[in-house]
Structures are given as C-alpha cells and as structure tokens.
Point group: C2
Chain length 161, copies 2
C-alpha cells in the first residue's frame, strides 16, 4: 500500500467539483496559518505576544472569569494567571472580584486595552486588504459560512456570575 498522497489531492481546482473534506481542511489550515502570521505581526507592533493579544481579543467581546478565559483559549487555567499578570502590569486589563462568588476574578479590558486590540486588528493589513477584494454578497457568504462551521457560542454577555 503506497503512502498517502500529499494534500491537496489534485482536484477541485476548477470550481465545479466540490472539494473533498480533506481539501477543505487543508485550505482551512493554510488560511489560518496566514491569518495567524498576520495577527502575530500586528500584535508585535504593540509589543504583545500572540497569546496576550488573543486574550485581549476574547475580552473585547465581554469580560470573563479566569476559568472561562482558559476554556476559550484552550489551555490550562494556571497558564492564564501569568498572561493576565503581564497584561495587568501594563494596565490593559483589570482583575475584578466577583460580587457573588469570592473565588472568581473577572477579567475586564481597560480603555487602553480596548484601544490596543482595536489597533492590532486594524493593522492586519494582509487580511484586511484581502477582504477588500470581496463584494457585499461574498462578504455575507463568508460571514455566514464561518458562523455555520465555527459557531462561537458567545450568544450574549459572558457569564460573569
């Protein structure tokens, strides 16, 4: 039995044959690789590591307890302590004790934190320029399809207890 062929399999280049799932996964991998590079570079202009910027990105939507941050960033809770420590030292983020559960600390973006993550996103030129080449219906389609495949689960303000 021969080794598996390299991805992507030589097909689905003409736009008529629907891509196989492997081809789609391969394209997702490539797309997110480029997105990540763009994001990392933009974060570096604010002297932030990708992890720190990702934390700001998640908090841009809504405050969240440490535990929720760990879940959203797909890492161990103990990891978040250090990341939030460094963000707090730079006053991009604030720990606020939960009024209803004294174990919990809610992490909140400061105004400086808001400005910083917005600036980072505005500096993702590779991604932003590429989005400029889409017309309205294409943007709507991409937005909708991504929402279908990656439902964010953030249906309302985060559970800050």
């Amino acid at each position: 039995m021969p080794a598996n062929p390299p991805h992507p399999a030589p097909a689905s280049q003409d736009g008529t044959t629907p891509p196989s799932k492997a081809e789609l996964v391969d394209r997702l991998a490539g797309a997110f690789g480029l997105y990540y590079g763009d994001f990392t570079l933009a974060a570096a202009t604010e002297s932030l590591t990708p992890s720190q910027a990702k934390a700001l990105s998640v908090l841009r939507y809504s405050p969240a307890p440490m535990r929720a941050l760990a879940t959203l960033l797909a890492c161990d809770a103990s990891n978040i302590t250090g990341i939030v420590d460094r963000l707090e030292k730079r006053e991009l983020v604030r720990r606020e004790p939960s009024p209803t559960d004294r174990r919990v600390k809610n992490v909140v973006l400061t105004v400086a934190g808001e400005v910083t993550i917005d600036a980072i996103r505005a500096r993702m030129h590779t991604t932003l320029d590429a989005l400029d080449t889409l017309d309205d219906s294409e943007r709507t389609a991409l937005f909708t399809l991504l929402g279908r495949v990656f439902p964010d689960g953030r249906s309302g303000p985060e559970n800050t207890r």
Copy 2:
C-alpha cells in the same frame, strides 16, 4: 468621547445586511480560535505541541528548507532548529542536505510523519463534524472564498533548490 462599542456591533444578524469589515475580522478571530483549539487538542493526542504539528502540516504539502519553514510559520529561523530537532528525534521528519547548496538543509516528512499529521487532521472532530453540515455548494463556496482571502502562495512543489 465614549469608548468604542464591543464587537461585534449589533447588526448583520439577519443575513441581509452585509457585515462590516470589523464584524468579519471578529468572526475570523472567533473561527480561528475554535479551529486552533480543535487542532491543539488533536495534536495533543499524538503528544505533539501545536508548533510541531503545524510544521508537519506545512511539510505535508511538500518538503521545505529550514528557512522556508521559518517564513511559513512566521517565526525566527533559530526557532525552527529546535522544533525540527525534536521532530527528527521522533523520526517524524528528516534533514536532507541540499544537493545544490551546501548551506541548505531540506526538511522532509517521513512516512511516520505523514501518518501522524493525517491522523491529527482526522481527529479534528469539532471542525470535521461542522463541515458535514455543509452541502456541496456551500463547501465549494467556503473553499473558494478562503482561497480568495488567503491565497496560499504554494503554487507548486516547494523551492527545495
């Protein structure tokens, strides 16, 4: 002047109004986060870190010199040395001296490396299950749109000199 509103701005939920660029970037960020979590978890089942798995993913397409790997993974070249060291120690990857440029070492997937990265992709259940909910035209649309926004630049076998 009030602080910027949280993302996403309360619009574009009905599918008729095209999303703003900020909303699209926000959705990309969310989608990327979920994809990355899925990928990280799948890589962990093979005892690989995300960076190691990402390197395999890039090499799945074609061998590449260390320098090209650094560019594709958007990091310093000195970083690649350690990552490839660990992958080579596990025999998932091989360094081959370039026949035409003795400075260059081409990194090649071993068969075990191929099997491993294919297994990781096959274990990305969250992503794969979501793709199952798309019909053929939707898959084609997503594939095409991602290709438009994130052209991978890998138009043929990698330049292995």
